[in-house]
Symmetry: C2
Subunit: 333 residues, 2 copies
């Protein structure tokens, strides 16, 4: 299934003994069949409002070389203003679920995942859509974050680089979410390529004009990139900083499973800032600080994300790395 996420062709611009990524030009097919979804989580309202708006007024999603198609991923959750009805839709796109017998279909999101997979996939097939933008919000102070599976996805890394240079009204860090070799469970994994946008802070069930503006700016920037790419623009090699998921940290809990300490005020809203050994992470309700005892700095993200209490995640620990990305171009002939 993962083969479709591989480039079309590698062209080595100069022969060397040592592999130097800057010497490669990687060719990809143009991205013509593009979809945008806004309510994979039904209470993340910037995407919900934009998708609903674009369903009525799709002109903003048109470019010279393609038109993106908006759709509602989880209309039932949107109606109830909840993240999901039966289970997290954005954890429902593993092949095992998508190809399971219909016994699990009493769960709304499994039924819906299969429907979406038929509409814009099927995942791993030749007829799957080229690209999906998946719009999310977080209660964390993540700015206008670009969520990519891994830097080996060179096309999407170029897209992220383009957005960082062209959408400058908010910080636009890159979050590399893949831990190890696990298959992606996210909605955009059914298309050849995907990008999730994560804008925060915004409370669940609330639409804020500032968050919506950033989400809109990101989507427009992504569409601009695709248009340039489709027209044959060559994008040169570059180096880029990104944050890679190391591990997830739970809240301190008592023996009965109750949360015993909350995010420390010094950590709250500090997404992507370094957490150094000795820095406070949590504060008990008795006022005691719980410090970070690791050996090296980490970069916390999704700090105090509302939906992650049930997932037992207080924040994600990231490392900050620099990556070399080779040049790319669309094979337009």
């Amino acid at each position: 299934m993962v083969t479709l996420r591989r480039p079309l062709m590698l062209i080595c611009l100069a022969g060397t003994e040592q592999v130097d990524q800057t010497l490669f030009l990687i060719m990809f097919k143009p991205l013509k069949r593009v979809v945008v979804t806004g309510d994979t989580h039904g209470n993340e309202m910037s995407g919900v409002y934009l998708a609903k708006h674009w369903l009525k007024n799709p002109s903003e999603l048109q470019r010279e070389t393609f038109s993106a198609t908006p759709f509602l991923g989880n209309p039932r959750a949107t109606e109830k203003i909840v993240r999901y009805v039966d289970q997290d839709l954005n954890r429902s796109f593993k092949t095992e679920i998508l190809t399971s017998s219909s016994e699990g279909d009493e769960l709304y999101e499994i039924k819906r995942a299969k429907e979406i997979n038929q509409l814009y996939g099927p995942k791993g097939s030749t007829q799957t859509y080229d690209f999906m933008i998946d719009m999310h919000n977080t209660t964390s102070n993540m700015g206008a974050c670009l969520i990519v599976d891994s830097t080996e996805n060179h096309l999407i890394m170029h897209m992220a680089n383009y957005v960082q240079k062209n959408y400058t009204l908010a910080k636009t860090p890159i979050y590399l979410y893949k831990l190890g070799d696990e298959e992606s469970y996210a909605i955009d994994s059914i298309c050849k390529y995907g990008l999730a946008l994560e804008v925060g802070p915004q409370p669940q069930g609330v639409v804020r004009a500032d968050a919506l503006k950033h989400m809109r700016g990101l989507v427009n920037s992504v569409l601009d990139f695709i248009d340039l790419f489709n027209k044959g623009t060559a994008f040169p090699a570059f180096e880029i900083e990104a944050y890679k998921l190391l591990a997830r940290e739970d809240y301190p809990r008592s023996s009965d499973g109750e949360i015993m300490a909350i995010i420390h005020p010094h950590l709250q809203d500090k997404d992507f800032d370094p957490l150094n050994p000795g820095d406070p992470m949590f504060q008990t309700l008795d006022g005691k600080d719980i410090i970070y005892e690791g050996d090296t700095p980490v970069y916390p993200t999704f700090i105090n994300e509302g939906a992650y209490y049930e997932k037992k995640i207080a924040f994600a620990k990231m490392e900050k790395l620099t990556f070399s990305i080779p040049a790319i171009q669309a094979q337009t002939e």
Copy 2:
């Protein structure tokens, strides 16, 4: 029922033709039976975490003249991290509901309202508890707001005045919620006196250390006031500014009921600031501004409160007024 909210005695300190409130000393009975609830809405987490903490460690709620009792108003909503299970608990305390036949008891919150009324009421009876603090959070930027039914509740206005002077780490505006002569539907209306605390901004389902600190500071300040009051301290007359509810404003909607415009970025987070004629209130997704066309300034509050989308409230319009509050003292003999 409302008689219990009347003072015990009025003492006119000097005879005059014109009634001058500053000449009165109003006597009240001490407040000895005091309760604190934290999850009237199960996803407003500062109160939830504090109430759970105090149930295990109640010493913080002790004073020389009394000990406040913490309780969980809506444990089932807390468990699910939702505002309510079947209907809003804080709209379930009208006498008509509390004295209804048990037919409505399939609704969890009606059953729970009746239970709470038996524990700390019954509403309007002689055995009802003296005072209830009800802890709330909002997604709006309301600071550490004190919600009082009306300024005629002189004892609670003195309490609010004391909190404003002694808890200075956040703005502590007074919100007068009663519109006309309607009977109160709120949980604290079952006790002789009540005060709701509304701390924001905090997303639903999230506990932030800053919001929790303010909530804790408010509760401690209220308990300090009650202790001084119970000891016989005389509180002199004063003038005070407060915000009184005028009306509630809905979002602009299309003919099918869908929200067509969101809170304008110039209004977002401006709770208790004046909204002047000609100021923008909403912004459509096409980028058009919708302005406030009233004749006089109003003071919006609960701007973009997440739980009020379903209630069709974009914000509450308030007027800012100054009130004269007469002196009070507890009748300790």
